[in-house]
Symmetry: C2
Subunit: 348 residues, 2 copies
Amino acid sequence: MDCYSPYPTAEESPYLPELRKDPLTGRWVIIANDRAKRPSDFIRQPVPPPAPGICPFDYGNEHKTPPEVLAYRNSGGRDEPGWRVRVVPNKFPVLGIEGDLDRQGEGMYDKMNGIGAHEVIIEGPDHNLSLGQMPEKLIEEVLWAFKERVNDLKKDRRFLYIILFKNFGDAAGASLDHPHSQLIALPVVPSVVRNEVNAAKAFYELKERCIFCDIIRQESTTGARLISETDRFSVIAPYAPRFPFETWILPQRHESHFEDADASTIANLARVLKATISKLEKVLERPAYNFIVHSSPVQEGPLAHYHWHIEIMPRLTKVAGFEWATGFYINPTPPEEAAKFMREAGLG
Amino acid sequence: MDCYSPYPTAEESPYLPELRKDPLTGRWVIIANDRAKRPSDFIRQPVPPPAPGICPFDYGNEHKTPPEVLAYRNSGGRDEPGWRVRVVPNKFPVLGIEGDLDRQGEGMYDKMNGIGAHEVIIEGPDHNLSLGQMPEKLIEEVLWAFKERVNDLKKDRRFLYIILFKNFGDAAGASLDHPHSQLIALPVVPSVVRNEVNAAKAFYELKERCIFCDIIRQESTTGARLISETDRFSVIAPYAPRFPFETWILPQRHESHFEDADASTIANLARVLKATISKLEKVLERPAYNFIVHSSPVQEGPLAHYHWHIEIMPRLTKVAGFEWATGFYINPTPPEEAAKFMREAGLG
């Protein structure tokens, strides 16, 4: 963040920034709470409604994508209209599914073939719905497609990690308007994931408890960062958020792998996800965001120390040199305030 | 990166992505070399020329900033016009310089006071110059100001790390047009820096050589990723770059701390930095970028295992959900091609 403003809007005030440490990753965050912090203080860049145009994800354009690998249908045959949710390989995948995992050196460096899978989950035929606007039943089927694709791909033992994520809006890296999520299966466990899982393991070895179960208990008790609770999920603003209005959805019952979630958990998650995104869309006026399913490496487990969850990151601030260099984030919105705005938004 | 494009511009071709590992951090990068890779294939968003308006960094507005902590002057007294380079505290610092470093628990969490310094290095009175356009002598004085401020601040033993960086352009997080860099002094060594220094130490313990010295030797020998060399600096496209046209400037002689650089090193660095940024401005048409001085923790050393250097990251691509979740970057431009374009740009 580049913070020098020629036109200060706030009075200079007693200045009490706070450094907070994420209990899992050890990442420090500066909660710079004299800065813009109310939702209305952010520069709003609502994600515009989709532009009209030819879309490869609309009904009738099924031939513009690679053949589907999964679809839930009302009618029609493979690669025909009539589907409710459709999963296709990305036409321009970042990794290829064919070949052997050939590891090589190059002088002092290491490389390997880019083996993996890259799929797109098309969230219904309606080109214009945001996640907050979708019927709960559709979100539930999208989550079923997530689960089903992961369970299919993990049979391929070359894939050690499978990441599910959604980019919404240009500022979050989305390049297509039609509602969709993505899946990438990787031949390695990425270092960020490995560090997170290892840190959770270290906590478990010390305490003989899952750190996420502890977080859920503490947040449920103190309440200041709690956004909502059902009998199956807790939605919180984390203690040391990197981004304003960063929001986590955690299943209350310990489970290490998203893909093992049962039917009633998936149904409840659909409701919670819709409500949470609706709140963000209301409070922040349809912001760009990423959401990411954090789950355990697919060839390991079940794990007593890792607890799958979803992290939602609205993209209201720009990540600049300081954050890149240090992994040290500056967040102008204390999570206690973000949680309060989210609670007051209502919407379940 | 959200890569599904409704309007493919490239023919479908034999697809050979490559996974490359950064030898220091262990970070994997996908070099997705069937994608947009020539400079002209990127969506160009040249940073626009500065807009006219009242600027707190212009001559005559010295009272709009906090009092200067350093200035190199032709004329005038403190906080008057006549300076060539001026350093001031950030009016809205992310950390405050007063107070004790009070560490506390909050339930299972950890926090501390936000003690630190946040300063702005104003790179001359001319509101409109980019770094590539500045006289070399001005850049040299900016680098002297960097060095002088770090050497002053490190006397305060509360500060364990001092980061120097520049954000250029809105996409890189800059919010003011007037040429400037920033400095933040921190009461902790950020985890990203600590991991990098520890990894360099592990390499040194294994090989009894500095990994950066090895990189310089390998890149100088193979040449494919070498952009330029002087007798003091090597400029390279790193083997596993996170971003298209990511560029590193490394001093050839081992030195762990930037602030220990001698006068002739600073003079040569000014020349190399100007030439390198000029090439990026030419090849990529005035892109947004961050540059970051990677140096050793200020209270440690000198270190045989860490080697200061500058990393320049043009911001042509958006960082999306996948990269956030995994630390696994997708880069459509092989560094060998970026280096070739940079070499062919000429400009020294």
